[in-house]
C-alpha cells in the first residue's frame, strides 16, 4: 500500500534522525581493532603470569606500558574478565 506524505511530515521525519556524535561513531567503527587488542591482551595475560599480575594490580598503567590506549570500554571489559 502506498503511503502519501505531506512535505511537512517528511521534514519532521528527517529531523528525527540527527547524526550521532562523531566520537561515538568513530569509537564504534574502531571496535574491530579494539577487540583485536583485547584478545591479544587476554591471550598474553593467560600465558604470562607476571603480565597478568601487573594487569590486575593496575590495569591502566599496565596497558599504557604496553602502548595500548586505555579506552573506557576496553578497561571495563578487561576488569570484567580479570575481576580487577
Amino acid at each position: 500500500m502506498t503511503r502519501f506524505y505531506e512535505e511537512e511530515t517528511l521534514g519532521s521525519l528527517l529531523r528525527m534522525l540527527p547524526p550521532a556524535p562523531e566520537g561515538w561513531v568513530q569509537a564504534a567503527q574502531e571496535l574491530p581493532r579494539a577487540r583485536q587488542s583485547l584478545d591479544e591482551i587476554v591471550a598474553r595475560a593467560e600465558a604470562d603470569l607476571e603480565f597478568r599480575t601487573a594487569l590486575v594490580a593496575d590495569l591502566e598503567a599496565a596497558l599504557a606500558q604496553e602502548g595500548v590506549e586505555p579506552d573506557r570500554h576496553l578497561i571495563e571489559e578487561l576488569k570484567r574478565r580479570f575481576g580487577s
Binding site: R3, E7, L14, M16, P18, A20, W24, V25, R35, H73
Partner: protein, 186 residues
C-alpha cells in the same frame, strides 16, 4: 557515496562477517543515527547512558553477527538489541533518568516514528547527492540557510526552493514504493 553504501543489509552483514573493516564502517554509518534516535528520542536516555547503550549495541552486533540467522533482518535485529539495552539501562537506573518518564504508549509511538524516519532516510539516499546534502543539512543537522549557503557555496536566496524541490523528489520516490515503512535495504 561509497560502493558499500549500495549494498543491501544482507550483503553488508555477510561482508562484515568476513572481517571486512570497510564494511563494518559502513554498517556503523548506516545504523548510527537509528540507534542514537532510539536511545535519545525513543527512550529519552541521558547522553551518558545513551553513549553506553550505543557502544554496547555495536559491540554486541560485532561479536554476535554470526548468530544472526537471517541477514536481511539486520535492521530489526539492531533495533531489538537497542531497545533491550535501553530498557536494561533504565531498569539499572545507575544514573538519574529524565524527570518525566515517557509512558509506554508514547514510547511505542516514538519508536514507530523512528522506524518510519529510517525508511524516509533510506529513500533520501536514492536522491541526487545535492539533494541528500541539502536535506540532511537543513533538517537533520538543523543548519541555517546562511550556514548552508556558505558551506555549499550556493546563494542563500535559492535554498528554500532547492529544499522544496528535493522534498518533492523525495515524496515521489516514497510514493513510488510499495512498502515504504519497512526501512531495510533488502
Amino acid at each position: 557515496m561509497s560502493s558499500l553504501s549500495t549494498l543491501t543489509d544482507a550483503q553488508l552483514a555477510a561482508r562484515c562477517r568476513t572481517g571486512d573493516a570497510e564494511a563494518w564502517n559502513e554498517l556503523v554509518e548506516r545504523f548510527a543515527r537509528y540507534v542514537y534516535a532510539i536511545c535519545s528520542k525513543g527512550f529519552h536516555l541521558r547522553d551518558e547512558d545513551a553513549e553506553d547503550v550505543f557502544q554496547e549495541v555495536f559491540t554486541r552486533a560485532y561479536t554476535h553477527l554470526d548468530k544472526l540467522r537471517d541477514d536481511s533482518a539486520l535492521r530489526p535485529w539492531i533495533a531489538q538489541l537497542t531497545r533491550r539495552l535501553c530498557l536494561d539501562s533504565i531498569s539499572r537506573g545507575t544514573r538519574e533518568q529524565p524527570e518525566a518518564e515517557p509512558r509506554a504508549e508514547d514510547e511505542s509511538s516514538d519508536l514507530e516514528e523512528i522506524d518510519e524516519a529510517f525508511a524516509v532516510r533510506e529513500a533520501v539516499t536514492t536522491l541526487p547527492e545535492a539533494c541528500q546534502e541539502i536535506l540532511d543539512r537543513f533538517f537533520a543537522r538543523d543548519q541555517s540557510y546562511r550556514t548552508i549557503s556558505a558551506e555549499l557555496d550556493i546563494p542563500a536566496g535559492t535554498i528554500a526552493s532547492r529544499i522544496a524541490r528535493c522534498l518533492r523528489k523525495l515524496r515521489e520516490e516514497l510514493e513510488g514504493r510499495s512498502e515504504p515503512s519497512t526501512g531495510s535495504r533488502e
